[in-house]
């Protein structure tokens, strides 16, 4: 396979597909798009086959082309254990999502498929880019198609949701751009004004961890900017509020990709860039990030308890689940980080499947209100069985994949601080509560009047829909029983990343810090409540105006 630019192939096969879809008549859009996504998937599987697990921490299949020589910016791709997993996750869920869009998307099918394929290009690119500038470019490319997918094919309030999504993400990512440039310049300045390697991830990383490293103030500022960008994407509390809106309004496949892959971009960025390039700052920020992660874990779950909308519930559960990822990363323990990466993959599979399942019911009822559901177990038993499977997977049932990641992350946390682990583990109860509540309302009891009123429209899940879910289900079981598959691949990356940042000693969460955080929280609430009428008026008027516009 030497000489074949397989990474570029994986990345740009979907782009070729997008061009083909754009050129060919609309009736070919679906098969061509699916074909392109499948080809990319096959290519990514080749990658998996050719990947040398023993050197999982090193970048393999690297490709390098000079791009903007003046600044030493390169087109450089490479794959290590972490990115390999995420690339395969992306290619898998992309074709699943495209397949799942066949029926729901009936308008502007060409544009849809083109957007989706370009989205895939961007996401794969983010995972493969080994040049900070290139990384940023792919990072932003992701934004546009998602914006269109939510904005064009979304629900009633889609425009609000999509603009919020874009603006929120953009605020973070643009600051990240500043940080990327600042880092590159700091490197250049430290190398006698030579730009060579200033954007090269591997060079920067070597410099950051062994070649002297960046200055403390740059580290803090750059890490802060990266943190904001990634925290918004993950999303971490309190930057998560775009997520429920985006999920609720996005079409099913959009939600799937959003949850399954896009949220991983941020977590990936944390591991790849934030902690390896700015290890000291990462150590400084870690306690705060851990606290935020804990809040996200508990808070997301608590808020999920009272969601009236299926998608919103799953969205808040994502906030909670992704909290484990950031928690696992920032305890700087091998178990923690391995758990975090496992959790990334598993959350992708499980939450992706949950959104697909919500899509299945939405397709038939055009409603997602939990209160209107009920008694589906009798009417659509297969659907409910599959739903139940993924609900329990999401609740972290051992034996399925969700458990291993969560547990490893918790073990890592426990060795960092038992209390933190206790708080995070507590969410097992809440997760069971909200998921079972949802499942119970959906499945049990007599068929609700609303559903009964649908008559024969309310059919059980179709074979195509099962086909989209089957690979996810199979992987959930496989990774639950044999997480070693994933762990072996990621092991090198984890070891290297932790070597970069250093494991550090167990840090007590300083009571003073906690008190300050609580105080700040209370202050925010007080201020917010005091100004509530004002802003509410503003929001109302804005809604009115946007409604009018």
């Amino acid at each position: 396979m030497d000489g074949l630019p397989i990474l570029s192939l994986v990345t740009f096969l979907p782009l070729a597909g997008a061009i083909a879809v754009a050129i060919l008549p609309a009736r070919y859009a679906r098969p061509v798009a699916l074909g392109a996504a499948l080809l990319a998937w096959v290519a990514s599987l080749l990658l998996l086959v050719g990947f040398s697990v023993g050197r999982g921490g090193l970048f393999q299949f690297t490709e390098e082309l000079s791009w903007i020589p003046l600044f030493g910016i390169k087109y450089k791709l490479g794959v290590d254990g972490l990115s390999l997993l995420l690339v395969v996750l992306t290619t898998t869920l992309s074709w699943v999502s495209i397949l799942a869009s066949f029926k729901p998307i009936q308008t502007r099918i060409k544009e849809y498929m083109v957007s989706f394929l370009i989205l895939e290009v961007g996401m794969i690119g983010v995972f493969l880019a080994l040049d900070t500038f290139l990384f940023y470019i792919f990072w932003e490319i992701v934004l546009v198609p998602m914006y269109l997918i939510i904005g064009i094919w979304g629900g009633a309030n889609r425009i609000y949701a999509t603009i919020k999504f874009v603006l929120y993400t953009l605020v973070g990512s643009l600051l990240m751009l500043v940080a990327i440039l600042a880092t590159a310049f700091a490197f250049q300045a430290a190398h006698g004004g030579n730009w060579t390697g200033a954007f090269d991830y591997e060079v920067l990383r070597a410099y950051a961890t062994s070649g002297g490293g960046f200055g403390p103030s740059l580290q803090l500022l750059a890490f802060g900017a990266f943190f904001l960008a990634f925290a918004i994407k993950v999303p971490m509390f309190p930057f998560h509020t775009w997520l429920p809106d985006a999920h609720v309004e996005a079409p099913t496949a959009g939600s799937v990709i959003l949850a399954a892959v896009m949220l991983k971009l941020g977590a990936y960025g944390f591991i790849r860039f934030a902690i390896s390039l700015y290890p000291d700052a990462a150590q400084t920020f870690a306690p705060a990030i851990i606290v935020l992660s804990l809040i996200a874990i508990i808070y997301g779950a608590i808020v999920a308890l009272v969601q009236p909308d299926l998608k919103k519930l799953v969205a808040y559960s994502s906030v909670s689940h992704m909290g484990f990822v950031t928690l696992g990363i920032f305890v700087f323990r091998p178990q923690g980080m391995e758990g975090a990466i496992l959790q990334m993959v598993n959350h992708g599979l499980i939450t992706g499947a949950l959104f697909l399942l919500v899509g299945v019911i939405y397709e038939r009822t055009h409603d997602r209100t939990i209160a209107k559901m009920g008694g589906l177990a009798g009417r659509t038993p297969v659907y409910i069985a599959i739903f139940g499977f993924f609900v329990f997977a999401s609740a972290g049932l051992p034996g399925l994949s969700g458990f291993v990641g969560e547990f490893l992350a918790l073990v890592g946390t426990f060795s960092f601080n038992p209390w933190a682990a206790a708080i995070a583990t507590f969410v097992m109860i809440l997760a069971a509560a909200y998921l079972l509540w949802m499942f119970q309302r959906l499945a049990t009891g007599e068929l609700s009047d609303f559903l009964a009123g649908l008559g024969s429209h309310l059919t059980d899940i179709s074979p195509t829909e099962i086909l989209t879910l089957a690979p996810l289900g199979a992987l959930v079981v496989a990774f639950g029983l044999f997480p070693g598959i994933l762990l072996d691949i990621m092991d090198g990356t984890v070891t290297r990343s932790l070597a970069d940042v250093g494991t550090g000693t167990a840090i007590r969460i300083d009571p003073v810090f906690v008190a300050a955080a609580l105080g700040a929280l209370v202050a925010i609430i007080v201020v917010r409540v005091a100004t509530l009428p004002l802003v509410r008026r503003a929001v109302t008027s804005e809604n009115a105006s946007s409604g009018a516009a």
């Binding site: 020589p69 544009e111 940023y136 643009l174 600051l175 500043v178």
Partner: protein, 490 residues
């Protein structure tokens, strides 16, 4: 005047000839589009060729009043490109409204000569005359749709305020001239170096600087001297707006480069702070007000104010000691020109049917009605937002880089400026993307048939599109060019 002088000013002279030629062509064949277009486009091609040929060697002419260096060449090419594109976009808009092409093209080319003169001036007087030669045709172009109340209203506002600011600028210029005793830019710089060697500005110099800064800030539409921009842009015929938003802007930046960077270079430390404040005000106000606009042309006017702010950031970075700031500014100018012209070209194309406004509603359903226009508009808007891989992104990244470098050199305020800039850029996404929302996510109030657009428009759009993408994807070549141009004065 020697033969060498003639060779040196050949592009400039040729440009004047092109303008004259357009008038002659119109006299020979009144009201015919063809000859005018041929003369204009072929002529501009020749001017461009001459620019490149003569621009390869640095030279001065007229006893040092006129100077050709890499900066001149770079800016000239931009001006020629802007005017050529504007002429391509013009007919589709003008013809349905019964407006002649000849005067339009002629006045445009006159304006271009002014801008070229600005870019090449090595003398304050030449600079002033070049400025006037650039802006006076601009006033006329703004009022080109003379039967339209908006067009003339925009024109008179532009004219009155422009003249006011010219007078202010000139007053300041006279003070600087009085103090330095020369109009030659290089000598001005030398004198200023000696004048301020003793310590700081004299009161007269401060007055002069203040008046000149005000005048220049007006020309580039920096806040709080921007008031004319929205009204003039909104009122002008759309192709003219496109031109006004880039031509006089880049021209005014040429003025800044020649005047502030070259002549007043020794006072960098003094005007740096002012530029920083102006940059912050400009980008912030521009973006904030643009958020509320419902007319796309007016919105782009405010957006153009905001972009001025970003460019000023490059200037500030230069003043803080980073030549990259200058490079970024130049790159930004080029990128902004193509993407903004492209956006206005799409608006102009929509307004081919007379009576169509540039309100956001006009864009509703465009993505379905005319998908290609919709996609191109999206591309230009994304570029304006600064989403990679487009020209706008790279330009923004470049000025930010310069600001970051300056901040790491010690000018901490530049780092803050960079952060403010990116926050602004994020806010700006809202109003740019709102147009996309209307194009792709809203249904029009009434279905209208797709329009047929002329080949000129399409070819112009093709050029703008290619450049917008190319400057984002392959910035290397242009980077070399702006590097050389910046070194010419930095």
């Amino acid at each position: 005047m020697t033969f060498g002088d003639l060779v040196t000013i050949a592009p400039f002279a040729a440009a004047i000839l092109v303008a004259a030629g357009i008038i002659v062509a119109d006299i020979v064949a009144p009201g015919k589009r063809g000859p005018v277009l041929v003369v204009a486009l072929v002529g501009l091609a020749i001017v461009g060729l001459l620019t490149i040929v003569t621009g390869s060697t640095a030279a001065t002419a007229f006893g040092g009043a006129y100077k050709v260096d890499d900066l001149t060449t770079f800016l000239d090419i931009i001006f020629i490109g802007i005017v050529a594109l504007t002429i391509l976009f013009g007919p589709d808009y003008l013809t349905p409204r019964g407006l002649p092409l000849a005067e339009f093209a002629a006045v445009l080319v006159f304006a271009m000569t002014g801008a070229m003169l600005l870019a090449a001036s090595a003398d304050l007087l030449v600079l002033f005359i070049g400025l006037e030669l650039m802006v006076l045709p601009g006033y006329l172009l703004a009022g080109y749709h003379k039967s339209d109340g908006y067009s003339t209203e925009g024109a008179i506002k532009y004219f009155l305020l422009g003249s006011f600011s010219s007078a202010i600028f000139l007053f300041g210029l006279s003070f600087v001239w009085g103090l330095t005793g020369t109009t030659r830019i290089a000598e001005v710089a030398d004198h200023l170096t000696t004048l301020t060697a003793g310590g700081g500005l004299s009161a007269g110099l401060a007055l002069g600087l203040a008046f000149m800064t005000t005048g220049v800030a007006f020309k580039i539409a920096a806040v709080p001297f921007h008031y004319w921009t929205p009204d003039a842009y909104q009122g002008s015929p759309t192709p003219v707006t496109g031109y006004l938003s880039v031509g006089p802007k880049v021209g005014a930046f040429a003025l800044i480069l020649r005047l502030f960077v070259e002549a007043l270079g020794p006072l960098k430390a003094d005007w740096l702070a002012v530029i920083v404040v102006l940059a912050v005000l400009t980008m912030t106000l521009g973006n904030l007000v643009a958020l509320t606009q419902t007319n796309v042309k007016r919105m782009l006017a405010y957006s153009s104010i905001a972009h001025t702010g970003y460019m000023l950031m490059g200037l500030a970075a230069f003043a803080a000691g980073r030549i990259e700031g200058l490079e970024g500014l130049l790159y930004y100018g080029a990128a902004y020109s193509v993407m903004n012209l492209g956006a206005f070209a799409v608006i102009a194309a929509l307004q081919k049917r007379a009576g169509v406004t540039s309100n956001l509603d006009t864009f509703a359903g465009l993505g379905r009605r005319e998908p290609l226009l919709g996609i191109l508009m999206t591309l230009f808007l994304l570029s304006l937002t600064g989403i990679p891989p487009t020209a706008g992104f790279f330009a923004k990244a470049y000025v930010i880089l310069a600001a970051v470098q300056a901040s790491q050199d010690g000018a901490g305020v530049m780092g803050l400026l960079a952060v403010i800039a990116v926050l602004n850029a994020a806010a700006a996404a809202f109003y740019y993307l709102r147009v996309v929302v209307f194009m792709f996510m809203r249904e029009p109030a009434s279905e209208q048939p797709a329009l047929r657009h002329g080949r000129l428009l399409w070819s112009g759009l093709l050029v703008a599109t290619i450049l917008t993408v190319a400057l984002g994807l392959i910035p290397g070549p242009l980077l070399e060019i702006v590097g050389a141009a910046a070194r010419a004065i930095g």
